[in-house]
């Protein structure tokens, strides 16, 4: 029997993406690309993580040429600890799926 994580599979995939480079600031589209999540799923997760103090967010300091400033995300110390614990709790299969950045639909099909 596997322990049930407090995070959904989609959240775990976001945490896994952020955990992959815990000190680096990542932007939304990069996380979406890594996790395969759509913006409508990804951003509510990012908002919840920020609200719970597990993730910090900031805007790029300088205005880059040719594109708008990015909103950047990074796990806090608490977030990193929670993410590491949550990823350790789940089964290796789920962890692998989260790290592989499979979309929920694809994950369901592989589970089935």
């Amino acid at each position: 029997m596997t322990a049930r994580s407090e995070f959904s599979k989609q959240t775990l995939s976001v945490l896994a993406a952020l955990c992959a480079q815990p000190t680096a600031w990542q932007h939304g589209y990069a996380i979406a690309r890594d996790t395969g999540l759509k913006s409508g799923t990804l951003y509510p997760i990012l908002i919840r993580l920020a609200d719970r103090g597990l993730m910090e967010a900031r805007w790029e300091d300088e205005q880059p040429a040719g594109r708008p400033r990015r909103h950047l995300y990074r796990l806090t110390a608490d977030g990193l600890a929670s993410a590491t614990a949550a990823l350790a709790e789940v089964t290796p299969e789920v962890k692998a799926q989260a790290r592989a950045g499979l979309t929920p639909r694809r994950r369901l099909s592989t589970q089935g």
Binding site: T41, P44, P68, H71
Partner: protein
């Protein structure tokens, strides 16, 4: 595709206003990242996801739902009032009626907001404001249905000048009603929520009672003696209740005010409770009676009942002529009916306010004016008021 993407981005940018201030940067983040996504369906899908983010917030924004509900109701009433031949004066009156009422009901909250603030955050004031607006819109809908017949030839004996004058008076009265509803339910309203609630509940009960005593706005006629006697007794009792109810509402409101407000405000709270009771009573009776008259041409059972119970009564203004079938009531509607309900709509709140103030002013124990001053023949005692004559 580019136009669609631009439109979606613009919609997302605008929908950011629906989000709480602390959440808007997330919409800006979605917009910023949209530039990174490949152009075409992927970018459109990305922006669509951002819109999905704002939808729950939009659903939680009550103001948006109220605005949508109001727009839907106003559109429905306009559609109903608009039908008819273009040269018909009744249709022209109805169209002006709907346009002006919609503008008044949409614009007046902004005016009242400057003076009394936005709607109070509690559930009751919001419910009362919504119910008040529903009642005004229902009255406009029913009135337009009645006037389509009452102002059309050959019933428009007063001519179009009378119809337009009546319309102007009706719109002026409705401005007053909307202002009372909005002011009493605003955050910085001088009215105590309890005073407003007491007055409104009293008024609704009073309005229903008056409607039941004369659904078409006239006293009923009974041929058998016993029902006639019973009805006369009910009318007399109804008159007493109609006079006493605003006083009782004022008294109850003053009692509530005595707990939280300084002594000088008790009569004011009584007046507000009376004003609310008169406003609610007039609105309820006008809506119910006008709606009953509006369905009269389409309901043969109601026509049969009206023919048997209405008529042979000469009011101060105009003469009720018993006319069979669909025109019963409408002959009176063009003259006595319209004027009669305008008088009810005008007098009832003012009378309610005066009676309520009297009730609040004479509340036992109030420092402003005690019961002994309001009713000199009554002396206050520790166990309550009783006639002074008993002490002698």
């Amino acid at each position: 595709m580019d136009e669609l993407t631009r439109a979606m981005a613009a919609a997302l940018r605008r929908s950011a206003a629906l989000m709480p201030a602390g959440r808007r940067e997330w919409i800006e983040a979605v917009l910023a990242e949209a530039a990174e996504t490949p152009a075409g369906w992927q970018r459109l899908s990305w922006l669509g996801g951002g819109l999905r983010l704002t939808l729950p917030q939009a659903a939680r924004a009550r103001g948006l739902w109220y605005a949508l509900a109001f727009a839907t109701a106003a559109t429905g009433i306009a559609w109903s009032a608009w039908s008819g031949p273009p040269g018909d004066s009744a249709i022209e009156v109805n169209r002006i009626d709907v346009i002006v009422i919609t503008v008044i009901l949409a614009g007046l909250p902004w005016v009242i907001r400057r003076a009394c603030g936005p709607v109070a955050s509690a559930r009751l004031p919001r419910l009362m404001r919504t119910a008040g607006y529903v009642a005004v819109l229902a009255l406009v809908l029913a009135k337009s249905a009645v006037e389509r017949v009452a102002d059309a030839p050959p019933n428009n004996r007063g001519g179009s000048a009378v119809a337009w004058a009546g319309e102007a008076a009706f719109l002026a009265v409705m401005v007053g009603y909307a202002a009372v509803i909005l002011a009493c339910t605003a955050r910085r309203s001088p009215a105590l929520p309890a005073a407003t609630a007491i007055g409104t509940v009293t008024g609704i009960a009073l309005g229903v009672m008056v409607y039941l005593l004369g659904p078409l706005g006239f006293p009923l006629r009974f041929t058998d003696p016993w029902p006639a006697h019973l009805y006369d007794a009910a009318l007399a009792l109804g008159a007493v209740v109609a006079l006493c109810a605003p006083v009782a509402a004022g008294l109850a409101a003053a009692r509530q005010a005595a707990r939280t407000r300084p002594a000088g405000s008790r009569a004011g709270q009584g007046a507000i409770a009376g004003l609310c009771s008169g406003t609610a009573a007039a609105l309820v009776v006008a809506v119910l009676s006008t709606a009953t008259i509006a369905i009269l041409p389409y309901d043969t059972g109601l026509q049969h009942w009206a023919t048997g119970h209405v008529g042979q009564w000469t009011p101060a203004i105009g003469e009720v002529t018993p006319v069979l079938r669909s025109r019963v009531g409408y002959v009176a509607g063009n003259s006595a009916f319209a004027a009669g309900y305008l008088i009810v709509l005008l007098i009832s709140p003012l009378a309610g306010c005066a009676f309520g103030a009297w009730g609040g002013y004479g509340r036992p124990g109030s420092r402003g004016l005690r019961m002994t001053k309001a009713w000199p023949w009554i002396r206050r005692s520790p166990i309550g008021a009783r006639p002074a004559s008993q002490d002698q």
